[in-house]
Symmetry: C2
Subunit: 598 residues, 2 copies
């Protein structure tokens, strides 16, 4: 054993693993795992997204699933790598109904982490590469219809004489990526987008917005950005890309089509989805409904007394467009996360007198540092040169269970604190209240826990440190006065503009609004892990609540997140939907109970 | 030597080659070539596209260019391959001003063919990959402009307060591919397209049209089709793709902008290009002008007596849309090339009574056979699986000088004749007059020689063989009568529709029309090789006349061809234009004399 290469060791382990699984020998399987161990499964074994932690959870999971799943043909994919404390490799496998890809990390010859994911349903492969269509039927075909005629006819039929199997509410990156997956899987789907054009959910945001994640992290499925695409996509450019993508992928994407409401008929196992389409009220009757309305609910403005008395302009950050109109004006930005910083900097750059009001601590990391420390090993030109394609990077990223993210992150954040100490000293001197998450685990952990609470610094921290953006920290807004803001420390900020960069309500507000408060309560809180940190109450759940996997409401799904998540999880969700569309059995293992109704 | 691997042999040859070139030792260089040998150069050595045939032409070329070019750092790229009669490999190299890629084929240790091409100008690399832009300027920038603001401002300026360096007339695949190259090379360029939308040059053609070349051959630069794209793009789908591409690549693409005329001021070294843009007459003043108006001139309808007397409908093939209106009608299609066959089949599929009038022999090859025999080795899934990317395939394709195409093709066509003998026997029995080009060299040779004269069979040949499409062959149209067509054999075809699938005039008609008859005569005939076969008079010129390289008219260029040519040659042409834009010396070796004025 000891003189084997990493690939040899992993090959050997996979062989034993397969033998134990084939024999349904749970003890023998557990003997291949470390005492502290994790098996994260997406769809392949559980028809769920679930992390089993430790031998007893893994044993229960195997006992419940092995009979149906019948996993086999495990084979290493690509190269094995040796790190400080583990060797790791990707692998492929198959089950009775699907082919899958996975990842394993071995320590001392035993598994520390295992990831299994679905990649295709047997008999329902996407028609790509060698399986692609001809585009034309050669030969003689009386009354042949052209591609365009067929396309127009199908578009006209879908939603009128022919019902979609799936409706996706929300046509941002999430809805678009999922619809593209379903298109390639030939699941008739309609996306409902309330805006006039695909991409408007980005275009409508503040003018200076650029993505905070780098391009290598942001590709949509199937059609990557060309290699001159800038590192940080400006929001209008991204909007145009999304609009193009919808067209090229031939998605059934209804614009200016707000969803008016939806309800589920349990007997018929069918949704009624009411939509305003080109001024006409239409009811769609899909079997599956996906809410892809963004990972946030509605804009949240704190209920501060006196708000109606304010004589200047006031709006939520989601309504801010540009600082151009506020040159020379006194502006107060309430909040201290990404949007608050971007908007404060935008106002300052346009010559406004800006004060930020910080109410709670913020995780701050410089963009360059984050890129180098967090993204570059998997998502960068250097990674590509090492053969780590987007596809491979996604699998490796998923191979780390949420439980392990904080401890792996802490090492990085210790380095970051040292590297950028000038930044942090400056912020400290200015009175800015920053941290690295309650437990020092930084941005990626806080993003999974609550989806907010951080600023990726692209310049505003410098403005705060040197006082060009003024700061009021560790205060609450006590009252809005006709001419400004009174804070809890008794001070008064005169203002002509107040921007409430105070975040958004929870994601299942959309379920309450579009379906019913009862259904929203049935599915409960979305996003978050149960980490028992602020805004993410326990108990520990191990995966993002309700995201990309079955919920307590039959045939209702939640899809969303950043571009990486939209890309990666859209495949797992699309395969779950496709399996249901074609009648492949999908016994869900470990459907998550609801601990938090709201 | 003899026990070296192919890579070793080619490495050894490249080393000797570099040594001889560095020493400007022409005799020593020639000693590395076979007696029958070819050196095809694109831009790298000649600032031209030119094939030198035999030792004496190579000697003259080296004597004229080596001093300026100073080639060095030749290194093998990828794997070397051994074929029946040669070993071959790609290589990289550099010159004083650029980096290049090439290909060499050795027989008995000596070069049989050498290809050298330009890939980038030193100091002016395209900003892609590691060189890509940030998309946002991090830090503090008073009065920052967003991507959208900058884009709108630049679009408004270009052509009004700021002149483009280059104007491309014609926004089909050729103009678009070239504009994309120039965009990445940061050469300010405007494309003038007379149609309302990018892609209309395809959309406006007959409804049943699909590309006859397969998808692997058809990618545009930078942004390949996704892998579910059908093998044969339907014309409207391709039109949509082109429209998307123009937007995503942020080309300055003026639609509904017919060029009204152009003239060159020799002293100012500047063109005046008059254009109708949104109803406004604008004069653009670029330094370079590219005609990318398609490889054909104007629709050509033979001047048959009696045409005006015809009481039915008659139109050129370029005006045909669909057979749907002609069910039960008698239709005569004059011509026997691709469009004639497609239109005849379309009419038949819609229930018309169709007769094809064949006036001269046609090269016919079944599409499947052509794909397998001609395309698949370089452009197919199988090729991709062997590591032959589009980029590599293009280089290998270019490595075969035009002189060698017919003799290599004959072998393939002997196989094709055998394989599809049922087809050819059927056509023969029906009286259809087919051949494989005068010298048996088939479609690719005839395409280079005259750009027409062939049918890639996707079904119509079967209809002709079994008489469902009627045929009149080896006849001329003698007279159009009010109710039909009288042929030279005395027969009469009653008709309610006549389609003239009679081709197009020569490409430099556009130069005559848009610039002047004098300039058209100065540059002379475009396309064709001087093969001394029908419609391609000698003497032998070795490269397509006037295409993608300097012409006898300063600052006037011709760009066009199929999608593969648009992709590949657009880089060579864009680098020639960029070099001129930044003042890199571009001494043209062997500017082609004009043998045919029209």
């Amino acid at each position: 054993m000891h003189d084997l290469t990493p690939a040899g060791k992993i090959g050997h382990w996979l062989c034993q693993f397969e033998r134990a699984l084939s024999a349904r020998a749970i003890e023998a399987t557990l003997a291949l795992f470390q005492e502290r161990c994790f098996w994260r499964d997406m769809v392949a074994f559980t028809w769920n997204i679930k992390t089993m932690e430790g031998p007893s959870e893994i044993a229960a999971f195997l006992a419940a699933t092995l009979g149906d799943v019948a996993p086999r043909n495990f084979a290493i994919e690509g190269e094995a790598r040796k790190n400080e404390d583990a060797i790791e490799a990707r692998f492929t496998f198959e089950t009775r109904t699907l082919t899958g890809r996975g990842h394993v990390r071995l320590r001392d010859g035993k598994a520390y982490t295992v990831l299994t994911t679905a990649s295709a349903l047997k008999g329902y492969q996407e028609k790509a590469g060698r399986l692609r269509g001809a585009g034309v039927a050669h030969g003689v075909h009386p009354n042949r219809q052209s591609w365009l005629e067929l396309k127009l006819r199908r578009e006209a039929e879908l939603g009128s004489t022919c019902q979609p199997y799936c409706v996706i509410i929300g046509g941002g990156q999430g809805g678009i990526a999922l619809a593209a997956r379903l298109k390639r899987l030939e699941v008739p789907t309609i996306v409902l987008e309330r805006n006039a054009r695909a991409g408007d959910s980005w275009r409508n945001r503040y003018q200076s917005l650029c993505l905070h994640d780098p391009v290598w992290y942001d590709h949509l499925p199937y059609l990557p950005f060309p290699d001159h695409w800038p590192v940080f996509s400006p929001k209008d450019k991204l909007g145009d890309w999304l609009e193009m993508y919808v067209k090229v992928m031939e998605l059934n994407y209804w614009t200016s089509a707000p969803c008016l409401g939806a309800s589920y008929a349990v007997d018929a196992k069918e949704w009624s989805v009411r939509v305003d389409h080109n001024g006409e009220r239409i009811t769609l009757r899909p079997k599956q409904l996906v809410l892809a309305t963004g990972m946030s609910g509605f804009p949240e403005v704190p209920n501060v007394p006196g708000r109606d008395s304010f004589e200047g302009e006031q709006h939520h950050s989601s309504r801010h467009t540009s600082g151009a109109a506020y040159s020379g004006k006194r502006c107060v930005v309430i909040g201290s996360n990404n949007s608050a910083h971007d908007i404060a900097a935008d106002l300052w750059e346009h010559g406004a007198d800006v004060t930020m009001v910080q109410r709670s601590p913020t995780v701050v990391v410089r963009s360059e540092t984050l890129i180098e420390k967090a993204h570059a090993p998997l998502y960068s030109e250097a990674a590509l040169e090492k053969g780590i394609s987007t596809d491979i990077a996604d699998l490796i990223l998923a191979s780390v269970p949420h439980r392990l993210v904080p401890e792996r992150a802490k090492v990085i954040y210790d380095e970051i604190r040292e590297r950028d100490k000038d930044l942090y000293t400056g912020l400290e001197k200015a009175g800015f209240c920053f941290h690295f998450g309650g437990d020092g685990s930084g941005i990626h952990a806080i993003y999974a826990r609550r989806g907010s609470g951080y600023y990726i610094d692209v310049g505003a921290s410098e403005l705060i440190a040197d006082g060009r953006i003024k700061l009021k920290s560790r205060v609450e807004v006590e009252r809005i006065m006709p001419s400004g803001v009174r804070l809890s420390d008794g001070s008064f900020l005169p203002a002509e503009l107040i921007v409430y960069a105070t975040g958004f309500g929870p994601m299942n507000e959309w379920a309450a609004h579009l379906i019913s408060p009862e259904v929203a309560a049935t599915v409960g809180k979305c996003w978050g892990l149960g980490s028992d940190t602020p805004k993410d109450p326990g108990p520990w759940e191990g995966e993002l609540r309700n995201m990309w996997r079955p919920t307590q409401q039959e045939a209702l799904w939640f899809h969303g997140g950043n571009l990486q998540q939209s890309r990666f999880y859209s495949l797992q969700l699309a395969l779950q939907i496709k399996a249901r569309a074609v009648g492949i059995p999908t016994p869900v293992y470990g459907l998550q109970p609801v601990y938090h109704r709201h």
